[in-house]
């Protein structure tokens, strides 16, 4: 539950951003992030809120780590948490084909 997931900001509308997470586009709230966010930025999303703007220098490494996590099987608990964050659903609600 405390594991966030990075995504790329596609559009900003007031306090809501449209964010791309590995091809899944979802709205993320910008209420608590502590820096201005513009399209092209990467943010760390936790339960539908951007909690951090990922610094330019950290983007590649952060994405590489999650690419690795997402290659894990369905039974992997951390990957299930990350997939849940991407789908915007709790892990048990994510279907294997989702």
């Amino acid at each position: 539950m405390c594991l966030g997931v990075p995504g790329r900001v596609v559009e900003v509308r007031g306090s809501i951003a449209l964010v791309d997470f590995w091809g899944v586009r979802r709205e993320t709230r910008l209420d608590v992030v502590d820096e201005p966010v513009v399209p092209g930025d990467y943010i760390l999303n936790h339960v539908g809120f951007a909690i951090r703007k990922i610094p330019e220098a950290e983007i590649r490494e952060t994405l590489a780590l999650y690419d690795l996590l997402l290659r894990e099987s369905e039974s992997d608990m951390m990957a299930a948490d990350v997939r849940g964050e991407i789908a915007g659903a709790r892990p048990e609600a994510v279907r294997p084909d989702a």
Partner: protein, 377 residues
């Protein structure tokens, strides 16, 4: 040697290189020799840390004398029975309960929210506090957001409270605050925790500096670490160096994600909405300042103050006898391990959980069950 790499790829080696893992394990061995005691216990407080440790069998790499314990790092697991009872009572009185998925199956004194749902109560599982507000906007009925999670997740609840939710929206807060429980667990009889590994993403909000007061008061070092195998091993190396040298500080080994001051905007919202109060953490102890409750200014959004919650009628039912054999509390306090529980893997499984530690993906019992029952073997 556990298999650290399951696929080939350049990026993997950066996080899971077996050679680096072995080198870090050898350093840990040296450090334990230098410390020179029969046993050294350190605690982490993060479900994601335990998932990595169990999955990659990291405990098999560790020196015999180093004991890495999962403490109370699962917010669902420490939600106390009376808190679940409050949600169940509200559900049975006709309010819609919106909550995170894991909370639905946590046992109360006579029922879980899933049981209440089977009796006709309306329970909505959601992913974000923002969805609970949307749910309230779409109906005229009362929607109670049964909010769980540590400070990282409480920030999201604070944000929706501050964003002018509709009048039929209220919050039943079961949010918990981690630093106070570290103080209690560190002082527990039967426990000799000499260092803490703190969770990376939680500290992204609070900042690593949040632990400075704890370190000063308890003379126990804290290291903030990421959640990949090499991050954890490197965090343990740093922690053992601090223990060996008697250096009582907070060290940040996850600068990729964590700063000393954290996210100040998020902290400001968190403390504008919440105050800390004492309360029980399931099975562990009364934790002074361990619970987050809405401030008076937001009483109109606080389900506890808006509604007369009568939990007494839930107590007519005798508690399940199995629950009395559950050692979840001792497990989260670091005194017992899941395989010592007589119910583990028998009466208590992820499909039929007796204790809360078997419900959540962050619970020690569920993690050990998923990765083979006893990750040390």
């Amino acid at each position: 040697m556990p298999e650290l790499v399951r696929d080939t790829g350049v990026s993997e080696l950066r996080f899971r290189d077996p050679g680096r893992a072995r080198a870090l394990a050898a350093t840990l061995e040296q450090l334990c020799t230098q410390i020179g005691r029969d046993s050294v216990s350190v605690m982490h407080v993060c479900g994601s840390h335990e998932q990595s440790i169990a999955k990659f069998g990291l405990r098999t790499l560790l020196p015999k004398s180093l004991n890495v314990i999962m403490g109370p790092g699962c917010p669902v697991c420490v939600t106390d029975v009376p808190e679940v009872d409050e949600a169940v009572a509200l559900a049975l009185s006709g309010k819609t309960i919106a909550t995170y998925g894991d909370m639905v199956r946590v046992p109360g004194s006579s029922r879980s929210l899933a049981d209440a749902q089977a009796e006709g109560a309306r329970i909505e599982i959601l992913y974000s506090a923002a969805e609970a507000v949307e749910l309230a906007r779409d109906t005229t009925e009362d929607v109670v957001f049964f909010a769980s999670g540590f400070e990282t997740t409480a920030v999201a609840t604070a944000a929706v409270v501050l964003a002018d939710p509709p009048p039929n929206f209220t919050v039943l807060s079961a949010h918990k605050y981690i630093p106070p429980v570290m103080e209690i667990v560190a002082e527990m009889p039967g426990n000799r925790v000499e260092g803490f590994l703190a969770a990376g993403h939680a500290a992204a909000i609070t900042g690593s500096a949040i632990f400075e007061r704890f370190v000063e008061h308890h003379r126990i070092p804290v290291v903030v670490a990421g959640f990949e195998p090499l991050d954890i091993l490197a965090g343990l190396v740093k922690l053992l160096e601090l223990i060996r040298d008697g250096t009582m500080t907070v060290e940040n080994m996850f600068p990729r994600c964590v700063t000393a001051e954290g996210n100040r905007n998020a902290q400001a919202q968190l403390w504008r909405v919440f105050r800390t109060v004492g309360g029980n953490w399931r099975g562990i102890a009364h934790i002074p300042n361990g619970n987050l409750r809405l401030r008076d200014e937001f009483a109109h959004l606080d389900a506890r103050r808006r509604f007369d919650i009568d939990v007494r009628r839930l107590w007519e039912y005798a508690p399940a006898t199995l629950t009395q054999s559950c050692v979840c509390g001792d497990i989260m306090a670091g005194i017992a391990s899941p395989d010592r529980c007589p119910l583990f893997g028998k009466e208590c499984t992820p499909d039929t959980p007796v204790g809360a530690c078997m419900v959540s993906n962050e619970g020690t019992c569920k993690i050990w069950h998923q990765y083979g029952g006893h990750p040390d073997l």
